[in-house]
Amino acid sequence: MSERVAVRKTYKLFIGGKFPRSESGRSYPVQNSNVALASRKDLRDAVVAARAAVKAWSGTTAYNRGQVLYRVAEMLEGRREQFVALGEPADEVDAAIDRWVWYAGWSDKLPQVYGGANPVAGPYFNLSAPEPTGVVGIVAPAQPSLLGLVSVVAPAIVTGNTAVVLASEERPLAPVTLAEVLATSDLPGGVVNLLTGRIAETAPHLAAHMDVNALDLTGVADGELARTLEEAAAANLKRVLRPSSPDWTADPGTRRMTAFLETKTVWHPKGV
């Protein structure tokens, strides 16, 4: 009896809830697989998808967004072994699952911690509340490719932003597999768009794109590249989170959420 021949997976992009190949028809060999090599056009398509998803996702109640993120944790838990098989350390996979749970709980709490009534000196009601900034471009950390990716994506979207993410160039298999988790987690298409390929090729277009509102440069290791990206981001005053390599297992705090929020303050007179 012959041994069964395995069916191999094609690692593609994740744009608008679908898994297209690169429009350029290119791929690159990495981790013993061929993975889609995203082009500038793919990136622009991803931004269009992210922008289109902003209205519905930011208008979804915080309660529902929390439920969706929790559902991601449920789906990821079920695929735990798959990520371990891709070479992700088991404790990091566990931490990535728990991180979705952590951020799921923030959806309806951040406005309570980060907003509130302002006692202005006059007969006015005055309330400040956070709102999502819009489309966030993210360069995910190269390592750890799953935990690092989850740690930058979850805080950006839990508050109602949508994201265009450039995944780890050296270890894209776990990120693409995470996209498959997101695609089956009630997350609306376009909320997270994930591109694989050369960071140096795609990141400048992301940084310069005029329909992107914010830029998370956490995964940009090259200081010179980071500086040029930040410069490009200045064109439409993108909110920029500079590169860093934090301890990904530590309590992440609220910084990654608040970096991509606007504060809206409403005044209203009081009187009969």
Binding site: A62, Y63, D98, W102, G105, W106, D108, Q112, V113, G271
Partner: protein, 478 residues
């Protein structure tokens, strides 16, 4: 009379499996009472006995408190918030999964319309667990210091009007903060709490973290006065709340009370009348008026009095009273014979004191406890029906001329749980809200609840808040 004929649309009972008798839920298991008796829980819509339920004696309560103490010290207290969160998320999910079963059981045991248990009570129960689950690993961010500590064992006594929802308001924040609990459900509505105990087992919640002791007043007293209890939370009547405050005086126990109300629902002449009438109806007839924050005093600006009353009566004539399991029913059964008696007595006093009573023509079932939706007009502030909580589908209507008079009358009560304001003018809403001595002010809406929103009263409606970030304070040593 009827515009439309409705065919019966009963929700099936087959989704629930009620056992003939239930024990106490102590240390993760159902056990027989050692020094208590038994109670019968009945369906108030038919007076049929649903199940026999244990009545916990002082010894049983002591066992429950010891189990809660042991679980607090050995398991739940030391457990990282991240893991407590996961148990609470599991419970939230199980409540969502078993939502229909819980809704039907709640309507059977309580008498509330299935439309409300299915669309309001049970979804909110899941939402409260979901919300507080998320707090369990974020307590340092809640504004109570960098490392807020739990209190220990919480003794909780809840009422019969929203049996499972009140359980959620008590248990979810207590567990999120790291406490363990001994909870006593109301004697007339224990069944969903016992099903919740099964859900705790299904979620593999560590034994002793949640203990449910069924019983009546004596059991509640034993829970509240037990020396091993660190925190007492009570929702119910102001009279019993006062007794609890007295009973724990001089102890170290932390106390929160959510008590009665006599909310004013204030309608200004610029309010959209149809919308306001829907709000008035929802405010007083939701859950048969068994709502502590019910809008039981309607204050109407004189210039629109006739229009509002005419519209209100027309709307009330369309309310359907009957089988709680029927999906087209608006008003279900009064929860108990005793409560029905109280509503009848106060209504008779209202008529004797000179107010004019009106109910739409309304056929009530022969068996069970029923009371037609009722309004009293010509009510003065001195009337007992304007001062005392009736806790039934009875609305007292008063009038006012100026905003200042509306505030004066609204605040002229020992209670201060909620208030409603209906006007097109935003600045007036905020002006009113500043002056109303009430814990919740609804503007152009009424009876809205959300896990993120604090709820609780001023004055003799109690103290402390449930829900929201503020709701954590009751269960933290701060």
């Amino acid at each position: 009379m009827a515009l439309f004929e409705y065919a019966p649309a009963p929700e099936s009972r087959s989704v629930v499996d009620i056992k003939p008798s239930y024990g106490l839920f102590i240390n993760g298991e159902f056990v027989d009472p050692t020094d208590g008796g038994a109670l019968k829980s009945i369906n108030p819509a038919s007076e049929e006995v649903l199940a026999e339920v244990a009545e916990a004696g002082a010894g049983d309560v002591d066992r429950a408190v010891r189990a809660a103490r042991a679980a607090y010290e050995k398991v739940w207290g030391p457990m990282p918030g991240r893991d407590r969160a996961k148990y609470l998320f599991r419970i939230a999910r199980l409540i969502q999964e078993r939502g229909r079963e819980l809704a039907v059981l709640e309507s059977l045991d309580n008498g509330k319309p299935i439309r409300e248990s299915r669309d309001v009570d049970i979804p909110l129960v899941a939402a409260y667990f979901f919300y507080y689950a998320g707090w369990a690993d974020k307590l340092p961010y809640a504004g109570f210091g960098s490392d807020p500590r739990p209190l220990g064992v919480a003794g909780q006594v809840i009422p019969w009007n929203f049996p499972l929802l009140m359980l959620a308001w008590k248990i979810a924040p207590a567990l999120a903060a790291g406490n363990t609990v001994v909870l006593k459900p109301a004697e007339t509505t224990p069944l969903t709490a016992l099903l919740f105990a099964e859900i705790c087992q299904q979620a593999e919640l560590p034994a002793g973290v949640v203990n449910i002791v069924t019983g009546a007043g004596d059991t509640g007293r034993a829970v509240v006065t037990h020396p091993g209890v660190d925190k007492v939370a009570f929702t119910g009547s102001t009279e019993v709340g006062r007794g609890i405050a007295k009973a724990i005086a001089g102890t170290r126990k932390k106390l929160t009370l959510e008590l009665g109300g006599k909310a004013a629902n204030i309608v200004f002449d610029d309010a959209p009348i149809d919308q306001a009438v829907e709000g008035i109806v929802n405010g007083i007839f939701f859950n048969q008026g068994h709502v502590c924050c019910a809008g039981s005093r309607l204050l109407v600006q004189e210039s629109v009095y006739d229009a509002v009353l005419e519209s209100l009566k027309r709307r009330m004539a369309r309310l359907r009273v009957g089988d709680p399991l029927d999906k087209n029913i608006d008003i279900g059964a009064i929860n108990s014979a005793a409560q029905l008696e109280r509503i009848r007595t106060l209504s008779e006093i209202g008529a004797q004191e000179g107010a004019e009573r009106w109910s739409p023509p309304c056929e009530l079932p022969d068996r069970g406890f029923w009371f037609a939706p009722t309004i009293f007009t010509g009510v003065s502030q001195a009337h007992r029906i304007a001062r005392e909580e009736i806790f039934g589908p009875v609305l007292s209507v008063l009038t006012f001329r100026t905003p200042a008079e509306a505030v004066e009358k609204a605040n002229n009560t020992p209670y201060g749980l909620s208030a409603g304001v209906w006007t097109d003018k935003g600045s007036r809403i905020l002006w009113m809200a500043d002056r109303l001595r009430a814990g919740v002010v609804w503007a152009n809406t009424f009876n809205k609840f959300d896990p993120t929103s604090p709820f609780g009263g001023y004055k003799e409606s109690g103290y402390g808040r449930e829900g929201g970030r503020h709701g954590l304070e009751a269960y933290l040593d701060v």
